[in-house]
């Protein structure tokens, strides 16, 4: 049925559409006609640093910690990217690739503040805005384009507003699904605008490498390449049965995404995702390899995560430890328990147990530690007496409440638990 090129496979697919239509999820039809915008700010942190400091304009800069520490590059300016410097790369590697790169410490408070201003701008174009990170967002503009003349004009006006108000550029993608809008925004960067209809998906998106598709990570990419899928177009027209055999239902879902048929909605801020988790992680300084330092860092991370949980009135029952060694091998270990909790010390004790089991007596140097709590639910006001409501649990609760109230009034840095101080900011 299929020839060698993906176009042959498209033709093959079109001959028997009904065979594949059956597998379309029932929700897909509901979202036909939707139009989604994805906005990706161009080298966001670096751009903000250049605006603040004209001495940096046009130079290769990397926002992140200095190469004397063990941090990573958060954002590289476009001149730095020409040398191969990328986000997530260690600062030492960045310096090796580009010896003249200028390192600038990140100013997260400013980036978050400007991000809130961006969201205010987005709300002028659509009531449905989902910020997926500090520099990316989706807008559902279904039914809005006619107000601006066309989708392209809406996109241009959005870009102009951001440039005029904040002196920043962004790349915008407009398509019928979130994934296709995201791919579209990455096609022409920086300062691009790409509007995709179904024909555009076939002409522009399908020839792209399959790794460009949102949701295709390194292991999925390997699995897809092993069965001969190289492009997004290959995936879109690969036989469903073969995909399901290799990747299960995820393979089938990916195929629909590649065809521009996924039905994930733009989740406005008031609609929290169902499977929410809260996490915090930290790259350890070069000299901080002792077990005590690691435990103090874990204590600090548990404190940060549970503080956020209590602030948003959540409690959870799955705790995950993330541990990355200096050779970049990363493991995650999780424990789920029957009772929900937001107790800092209780969660720390669980994390400590997972960490002890993972590390053992080894002194192998650790690069990064992370703690996540998932299976979250809104806190129940009058819960039944739980396993943790013993006298220790009550003492923990009083301590947590007291620390929270001090931080609410005077800020997060006003008080630290003594044990976590070594691993705190």
């Amino acid at each position: 049925m299929f020839g060698n090129s993906w176009q042959d496979r498209v033709d093959g697919f079109l001959e028997k559409p009904e065979a594949n239509q059956k597998r379309r999820p029932p929700g897909a039809a509901r979202f036909r006609g939707r139009r989604i915008v994805h906005i990706d700010m161009d080298a966001y942190f670096a751009a903000l640093e250049e605006i603040k400091n004209p001495h940096l304009a046009g130079k290769p800069i990397a926002v992140g910690s200095s190469p004397t520490s063990r941090g990573v590059v958060s954002t590289a300016s476009y001149p730095a990217r020409r040398y191969g410097v990328r986000s997530g790369m260690s600062t030492r590697e960045a310096l090796r690739l580009c010896p003249q790169v200028i390192f600038v410490g990140s100013e997260l408070q400013q980036y978050t503040y400007v991000s809130a201003e961006l969201i205010n701008i987005y709300h002028k174009f659509s009531p449905s805005v989902q910020a997926t990170s500090v520099d990316e967002a989706f807008l559902d503009i279904t039914g809005c384009a006619h107000l601006y003349g066309s989708e392209e004009q809406l996109g241009r006006q959005l870009k102009n507003t951001i440039r005029d108000k904040l002196s920043l550029t962004c790349s915008v993608g407009i398509a019928s699904t979130k994934v296709m809008a995201k791919v579209a925004s990455s096609v022409f960067k920086p300062d691009g605008l790409t509007v995709l209809d179904q024909q555009g998906i076939i002409q522009i998106v399908h020839p792209l490498p399959v790794g460009k598709l949102w949701g295709v990570g390194p292991s999925t990419l390997r699995a897809l390449e092993e069965i001969g899928i190289k492009t997004i177009g290959d995936l879109a027209h690969w036989p469903v049965d073969k995909l399901r055999r290799r990747l299960g239902s995820f393979g089938e879902a990916l195929r629909l995404i590649a065809r521009g048929e996924d039905d994930s909605r733009v989740l406005a801020q008031e609609e929290p995702p169902q499977d929410k988790s809260m996490s915090h992680e930290r790259t350890l300084p070069l000299k901080a390899v002792s077990r005590d330092y690691q435990l103090a860092t874990l204590h600090y991370l548990c404190d940060r995560v549970t503080r956020r949980m209590r602030r948003h009135n959540y409690e959870g029952r799955t705790v995950t430890l993330k541990l990355r060694w200096t050779d970049f091998k990363t493991i995650t270990r999780a424990i789920t328990f029957s009772q929900y909790t937001d107790d800092t010390l209780h969660i720390y004790k669980i994390v400590k147990g997972i960490w002890q089991a993972a590390v053992g007596e080894s002194n192998k140097p650790v690069r990064l530690l992370g703690v996540a709590v998932s299976h979250l639910r809104e806190k129940v006001n009058n819960p039944q007496l739980g396993l943790f409501d013993n006298s220790a649990g009550r003492r923990h609760k009083i301590t947590d409440t007291f620390i929270d109230s001090l931080r609410d009034k005077y800020g997060e840095s006003v008080i630290h638990r003594a044990y976590s101080h070594l691993g705190s900011d």
Binding site: I51, K52, N53, V104, Q109, Q110, Y113, Y410, G411, E412
Partner: protein, 82 residues
């Protein structure tokens, strides 16, 4: 690169149109005239606001000033050194 500081400074500022704008500041006995504010943002420290200003002086030196509303004091938090 930026040099992190925590130096108390004296500042002349203008309150206008619900905005606070530093105009001049005195650091190490020298007065710097602010020619441009290139960035301003704020953060909440508990119930109180801390305001930040990225500024350039008449000699194109780059600084970061911080105003703590709870303490009503100004601090020079960063300076750019070539």
């Amino acid at each position: 690169m930026y040099q992190d500081l925590d130096d108390p400074i004296e500042v002349i500022a203008v309150f206008s149109g619900h905005q606070l704008k530093p105009v001049r500041f005195k650091w190490k006995d020298r007065v710097h005239k602010i020619t441009r504010i290139t960035g301003s943002w704020k953060k909440l420290e508990g119930e109180f606001i801390v305001r930040f200003f990225a500024v350039i002086d008449e000699n194109t030196n780059v600084f970061q000033l911080m105003y703590n509303e709870r303490l009503t004091d100004w601090t020079l938090s960063k300076v750019w050194v070539e």
